[in-house]
Amino acid sequence: MSEILQIESILNKDYESVNLVSFQEWVENIDKLSKLSVGVIIGPSDDVSLIKGHLDFIALIALDFNNFDDGRGYSQAYLLSKRWQFSGEIIGINAHLDQLQFMIRSGVTSYILLDSYIGLNEEDYANGFSICYQEAANNSGLQQKY
């Protein structure tokens, strides 16, 4: 999938389809949507702290990494996963192969690559290194050197 607008629902890790709403929709309709167990799509410019108090009512979160040079998604992933302990899935959508290692270590729990990367070996890019030099949301598989 290459366009964020094409996503209307998404599969979670149990392969159950979850309906998605935009961050804007969620914030404007919290009372209604929090009863429906939907997923929320968060773009780089969305102020993720606005949903901090409602995370228990969100089925999953889709962070949009489409803009290769916009690094806000990594901080959003860190805050959701590590600081606010969001227990649902954090899916990196419109993901880039060369940024998988950064996404996963920041707290993204699964991802959907952009179509242009189909056929390339994801393992190569998700686990490019044997050690890491800093604490992060997810350092599994890496020797920690700090």
């Binding site: 290769f68 690094g71 992933a77 950064f102 290194f129 992060a136």
Partner: protein, 555 residues
Amino acid sequence: MANSFNNLKKMYQYNAEDSNFLVERVDQFEKQLKRHLAGELDDAKFRSLRLRNGLYMELHAHMLRVAIPYGTLSSPQLRSLANVADKYDRGFGHFTTRQNIQFNWIELPEIANLLRDLSDEGLHAIQTSGKATRNITADPLSGLTEGEIEDARPYCELIRRWFNLHPEFSWLPGKFKIAINGAKLDETALRIHDLGLRLIRNSQGQLGFSVFVGGGLGAAAMIAAETASFIEVEDILSYLESTMRVYNLKGRRDHQKKLRIKFLVRELGAEEFSRLVDEDWQQTKNDSKLKLNLVELEQLKKDFSLPIKQIDLGSFEEKVDFNYSIWKKNNVRSHKINGFSIVNISLTKLGAAPGDATSEQMRILADLAEKYSVGELRTTKRQTIVFPYVRKDQIFNLWQSLEKYGLASPHQGTLAQIVACPGRDYCDLAKAVSIPIATRVQERFNDMKKLLDIGDLNINISGCENSCAHHHVADIGLLGMQKNGEEYYQITLAGETLHQTVIGKKLGPSVSGENIVDAVETVVNVYLEHRQNQERFTDVFKRIGITPFKEKVYE
């Protein structure tokens, strides 16, 4: 040669894990490069990736920027750089103002082999460019001067590691330059950095950092604001992370000229920025996993401890030689260890870009450093090379060797040692020439007696507002510009960073290229006319103000 060097002590080196990491990084980049060359990775994404590996694309070739962490090099490392210059470039390297070295004629398909060659000596180009934490610079005289709080390099190393491919902060709004100083004088210019750290002791004698954020030169020159007056050593990583998190989430990404953190600090106000950082930091400052590793710090302090012990030279007699004594006066500084001196070596040549070195010069310097300075060299923001451990009774011999190879011009340390960017002769961005102006100023001031009388006065010349030559913080700064198709120079006076950080004041209307050398000479003459005792340029300027300079230059 008999010496008192402790030959058992080796310079800090990366261990096998670190070296392996460098190789893994090269392997990864090689795969990306292959995909790019096969048309599978577009220009925009490859640009982002190659910059994070220090690789720039110029008009006709590629430029690679290699890090010289904390400005410290070993002789074998310098030889390895010389080999790269010969094997992959045209026999040159260019030492930059931020403790890096650049190679200008690199062929893209050879880049991986080049980086592998460098990794053999623990050298790399990771994050020397791109919107991430750049090479962290330190006082080039770290560990050498009296009154220093502590050697900054172990802290540089630990902070460098922490922000090496940091998952959260590798795609920041703009580049992020950090400098750390532990000495009395600020040789790092830390308050013109995105983030500057000053090692200090608080009233209880505890070691920590003052943190300064949002400095920078360019079209909007700003001095970094103090966001924290004292952060304990072990809390520095979490504090830096909070600073970067606020920047990453709130920094401007919508305007190409406002990407740096200084614009965010200015827009929010330093107080509000500090408050946001502090608010974030309260969530993490007690996280034990974010504490600086004090065991590792102690190990690094040992690794970076000085390889010399004080020696009693008895009654050695200094040689009498006119040129030697002039050179020595300008280029040799006192060392905190008895019996030793710090020697500064300039690469500046009349008419050439400052900081350029041939592979032959690099090998000569590597050999001389082994003979006279325990095989260690440092690089400075004035694009000079420092020999940190020269025995006082061997300075003359070193000078003779430097003379032989044309590396001991007595002009060093005087006004004639000008900092200039490549300018319009070499750079597409420049609005005016820099090096020919430097040459004309040097020709105007070619009287050694007058140069010695003037003393250490900095002239920096930038060919455009990007300010690569740091003209804002020189005694006399020249900024090249275009006016009706002709080259003009704006003059700024009395900028400084060594004792305090001051952005130079604009003198008045810009001066044509034809008249600029006259204007510089006039400024110097006004200084000499008003100077009392041994006053520095900036002190005279503070005392008499800008008017006497203005009146003479524009009369």
